[in-house]
């Protein structure tokens, strides 16, 4: 019975999962460092430069500090949900990475190993499902801490993510109309052969980008944690590593949404002007991963750059932008795309 299972396949996937999770955690860790450094440079400061060379050990010091902080669980909170909140935020943040094609196949030990943990043919739908679960972590945590500021933060997060998910979904429908399928790997292969989807869907990309900012609770849409209105927003009552989980999940979300945007609109692991077929599969895979990471770093820098440029929206402005501008715009984009496709097919 045991022999029926392809053990090499199981081991291969387990290693891949381990590498991807560890890599996302590591990248998220250094994104916190990059955030502080970018903030400093954009504001003519120097940023952290004391821990290690160029301050490179700063994220370790920050993590260590969070571990050693006193862990406070408020008396009137519901304890189970209070712990469930940050765990769910972290879990859903990491789960999204399962369907992302990180590169083409590599060839090791006489096996072709696909650099994608799960090749789901409805990859985009899976991403959407998991991302919309992410808000539960925030909602549960904010409700469980039994604090009005936390609750306000949670309410804001929920309504914001629901409003922006609609526009995001509609902008994606236009993209799916162009590509013709929901499989992330297939979408990348199409872009590798033809042009990047960004050229077909510039407006769709813009809407998706704005919504991604909102989904990650990043400035200018960081109302759920608006420090100067809500103390800390949904994580007001959190301390120690539970707070660390919330902060960390935000950075992982940022990383994952950068990956998704690169995959959907900027060719994923496709290196422009390079024909991957000319190289051996392993070299091509390394080139592909490097290309994807370069795009991701670009997007992460964009996230930070915008954060230190644009001030936070007021709540009614946020809702106005979401419901009265982005959703109609996304609908028009969808209709226009459909019309053009229909015209071209005739």
């Amino acid at each position: 019975m045991l022999l029926a299972i392809d053990w090499a396949f199981v081991i291969e996937k387990l290693v891949l999962i381990l590498v991807v999770v560890m890599a996302s955690l590591g990248i998220a860790m250094y994104t916190t460092f990059a955030e502080r450094k970018v903030a400093a440079i954009l504001q003519d400061r120097r940023g952290p430069n004391r821990a290690g060379p160029f301050g490179l050990l700063q994220p370790l010091a920050d993590g260590l500090k969070l571990f050693f902080k006193e862990e406070i669980i408020p008396n009137f909170s519901s304890k189970f949900l209070f712990i469930l909140g940050p765990s769910m935020a972290m879990l859903t943040a990491i789960m999204t990475s399962a369907v992302v094609p990180w590169g083409d196949t590599v060839h090791f030990f006489d096996r072709d190993i696909s650099l994608q943990i799960a090749n789901v043919d409805v990859g985009i739908l899976y991403v959407f499902g998991v991302v919309s679960l992410g808000v539960y972590g925030i909602m549960i945590g904010s409700w469980a801490s039994n604090n009005k500021f936390s609750l306000m933060g949670g309410l804001r997060a929920a309504s914001q993510i629901i409003s922006y998910e609609l526009a995001m979904g509609i902008s994606l429908i236009a993209l799916i109309m162009v590509t013709g399928n929901l499989d992330l790997k297939e979408i990348v292969l199409q872009q590798q052969k033809g042009h990047w989807n960004f050229l077909y869907q510039p407006l769709g990309f813009l809407i998706f980008l704005i919504c991604a900012f909102a989904e990650c609770n990043r400035t200018p849409f960081d109302l759920p944690e608006a420090e100067n209105e809500l103390i800390g927003g949904y994580h007001t009552e959190y301390s120690s590593m539970k707070l660390g989980f919330y902060l960390f999940s935000e950075y992982i979300n940022m990383f994952i949404s950068s990956v998704i945007m690169s995959t959907l609109f900027f060719g994923g692991y496709d290196m422009p002007f390079v024909n991957e077929a000319n190289y051996s599969p392993n070299v091509a895979a390394v080139i592909g991963i490097a290309a994807l990471m370069a795009k991701v770093i670009g997007f992460i820098f964009l996230f930070m750059w915008v954060r230190w440029t644009i001030p936070r929206f007021r709540y009614d402005q946020l809702m106005n932008l979401g419901w009265k501008i982005l959703i109609p715009l996304a609908l028009i984009n969808m209709l226009a795309t459909g019309g053009v496709l229909l015209f071209l097919n005739k």
Binding site: L42, D44, W305, T309, I310
Partner: protein, 182 residues
């Protein structure tokens, strides 16, 4: 209304045009401005590794001076203590014994000389009051400490190193200020 300065900006309350309501041009403009700051020079000085030069007239910690042969200049006349607006200086005088001529320049000297650096306001009036050129303010400031009593500097801490026995330390402690004065 008459403006007080030429920096007044009139607020434009016209309704926004379509381009302005798109916000994106303004956002790109703002992002260009923040991006340009990447290349600007940073005014921060990395403090412990690099120190900002003080002005030549900076008034820091006091130094009790010696003459070229290494004898203490101070005669414990008390003029500095009288001049001191913060009453930070106390001293006790003593008479020079035979055989101590190489230690003290004149017949009277300060057996005890203390400055409370927590009281001192570093005004430099002691330096101006001194007729013997025995006290002057250097270019360093008092280092931090955990206890108040550590800030009462005794004569041993204030005295300049011996010019003949430790010439290098003496030159270093002398600093630019004393050189400018002489």
């Amino acid at each position: 209304m008459q403006a007080l300065t030429n920096r007044v900006k009139q607020v434009d309350r016209k309704p926004m045009s379509f381009v302005e309501r798109m916000y994106l041009p303004a956002i790109f403009k703002g992002m260009f401005i923040t991006f340009s700051h990447i290349f600007k020079k940073k005014p921060t000085i990395n403090y412990p590794e690099k120190k900002r030069p003080f002005s030549p007239v900076f008034r820091g910690l006091h130094i009790l001076n010696r003459d070229a042969e290494g004898r203490e200049n101070c005669t414990a006349c008390g003029l500095c203590a009288v001049a001191c607006p913060a009453e930070a200086i106390t001293m006790e005088a003593a008479e020079r014994k035979p055989g101590e001529e190489n230690l003290y320049r004149e017949e009277k000297y300060a057996a005890k000389y203390e400055i409370n650096m927590l009281r001192c306001i570093f005004c430099g009036l002691c330096e101006e009051a001194c007729p013997k050129d025995a006290i002057y303010l250097s270019e360093t400031f008092a280092p931090s400490d955990y206890q108040r009593k550590q800030f009462i500097y005794s004569k041993e801490e204030l005295l300049i190193p011996h010019p003949l026995k430790e010439p290098e330390a003496y030159q270093k402690a002398l600093g630019n200020r004393a050189k400018i004065k002489n």
